[in-house]
Symmetry: C2
Subunit: 329 residues, 2 copies
């Protein structure tokens, strides 16, 4: 009997990396949970080309019993949904408990920060989903990751990396010396494949990373590799905190405004990563996470230097191409 | 340099057990944090008789800086406050972070249940304190315990155990077959002394227990030892759930009513322990707790059978003698 996996969000930004990681691994029978209105979409066609079984279902509009029937027979259920859709996982958790899922992977895949009010929106909602998991005694693994290389490099004066740039990342926060867990997003899937087969990670939190880098480190590598001088803006810690408070107030005034949500996620990330320095191996261990570097010492993640080589060679891909367009209006 | 410990709540129901455990252990220099108005109380006199240093302070009425000055120089700070005073620990946590406390023990010492809405009042408030700890990256150990033998035995028709009875515990919940972690409250201190010296328990949750017993087990032991037939009442799971909802509604109507709080704690304990079956070794491990049975295999906790021998011999003590009096009006 092969290990069967049902992946929710297989065409999303993280989900597609997980799908490729599971396929590369070769030891899983994989299915994707796809909403009825998405079955005919181009993204779903790519799943069919990869011979992934399509399970048509919609956690937002079906009952727990209906969803449980869909989940039945899958050993592992992985949820990789949009940042805005975290609370919509409740029914999926209820269904997994009902179906007797052997391991549920909620949508984590974010930087390390503590439960509570620090990352009040993104982490706050994810932790509510964890509480729902614990409510059911449902077997689980929480997987969080270093921040993506793909979102962390500054633009160059020549414009040669703009093709892969989601939004301007040329602001140096504080002294630029805050260490941060980082990873090439393409490695998330391969590590997830290892984690879900590993009994040591059952009912645990696990963090993935390739390197620990400061902005200073990133600037040195980008300048050294490109031969260009980066145009650097600066923001103080106080400015980051003020921006976060303003973003929270604005969201409270327009709670369903998508851009107001994005602003809170972004500002809370900045404070957590650069002011509080939450996204480190030490803090991850403190918060009870296992470290994939210890679990899988043979795994060779892509280095930031190698990523920059690819970026400068025109081989990188802009994240969220279908969704956001901050630079390329 | 001996290990220095500051104990907050040293004359309370759990605190006094912790104090005795620390004294018995012999390897600590112990101080007690006592409020100004309690310095002259009889309970504080007993601390002085035990040669415990009295540190006069009041987390409710002093600033974080003032409290940090009091905490300065203590390796470990243990908080064992009343169930109603959980959120008053925030300032103590802030002060410990400021003072560089090497290990903070928040007031846990309760049964195993998941974070979230299950034990919405008692666990809910304790988890808010945990979040404050994580906010500061403050080193910690969360210690939870089996339910006390002292609160778990039924009355006998002869009345011979009434002297040690806090409230009637003669109701059989459901089929009486829910396993529960249990412990003699006098063992909490000796195990706490081990835990706070142990590097393996730093930044972890740990659970203490002596035995796993069902109500059926307890009835058999009590009847066998006493030769009396217990007068048993019964409550169904549905009745427990209905009682919990009613208690929550009543507290919402009178949020500062002490007896309404007690009713919520009690009803939520019953649902968690007897309906959900949360208070088990399996669930504790699932929720990430370490097990003192594994950590300290040489430790011999008092058995329930031995506790009952003492109880029938008139040697038990009624808990909360100074505070509540449900049976002995």
């Amino acid at each position: 009997m092969t290990h069967t996996v049902l992946l929710h969000g297989a065409t999303g930004e993280t989900g597609r990396e997980i799908l490729d990681g599971l396929i590369d691994d070769g030891s899983f029978t994989i299915a994707a949970l796809v909403r009825p209105e998405s079955v005919e979409k181009a993204a779903t066609e790519t799943l069919k080309e990869k011979a992934i079984k399509i399970v048509v279902g919609d956690p937002a509009n079906q009952t727990v019993d209906e969803l449980a029937a869909l989940l039945n027979g899958y050993d592992t259920v992985i949820s990789a949904v949009a940042a805005s859709a975290q609370l919509a996982q409740f029914k999926l958790v209820d269904a997994a408990a009902k179906a007797g899922t052997k391991r549920f992977i909620p949508c984590g895949f974010t930087s390390i920060s503590p439960p509570g009010g620090v990352m009040s929106l993104l982490r706050g909602e994810k932790e509510q989903v964890h509480e729902r998991i614990w409510y059911h005694h449902l077997p689980y693994t929480i997987i969080d990751t270093g921040f993506w290389y793909q979102l962390s490099f500054p633009r160059l004066p020549s414009g040669r990396v703009d093709y892969a740039t989601l939004g301007d990342a040329n602001t140096f926060f504080g002294n630029g010396d805050a260490p941060n867990l980082m990873i090439d997003k393409r490695d998330i899937g391969r590590l997830t494949a290892r984690i879900i087969k590993d009994p040591r990670t059952l009912n645990k939190r696990v963090f993935l990373h390739a390197e620990v880098l400061t902005q200073d480190d990133i600037w040195i590598i980008m300048q050294g590799k490109s031969g260009e001088k980066i145009e650097t803006k600066r923001a103080s810690h106080d400015q980051l905190i003020a921006k976060m408070h303003a973003a929270r107030v604005a969201l409270r005034e327009n709670p369903t405004d998508t851009m107001a949500q994005v602003a809170v996620w972004s500002a809370e990330y900045d404070v957590s990563k650069y002011v509080r320095v939450d996204n480190t191996p030490e803090n991850a261990r403190y918060l009870g996470y296992l470290d994939t570097k210890k679990l899988y010492p043979d795994f060779r993640p892509n280095t930031f230097t190698a990523f920059v080589d690819g970026l400068l060679a025109g081989k990188a891909q802009r994240p969220y191409q279908d969704k956001y367009n901050f630079l390329h209006k």
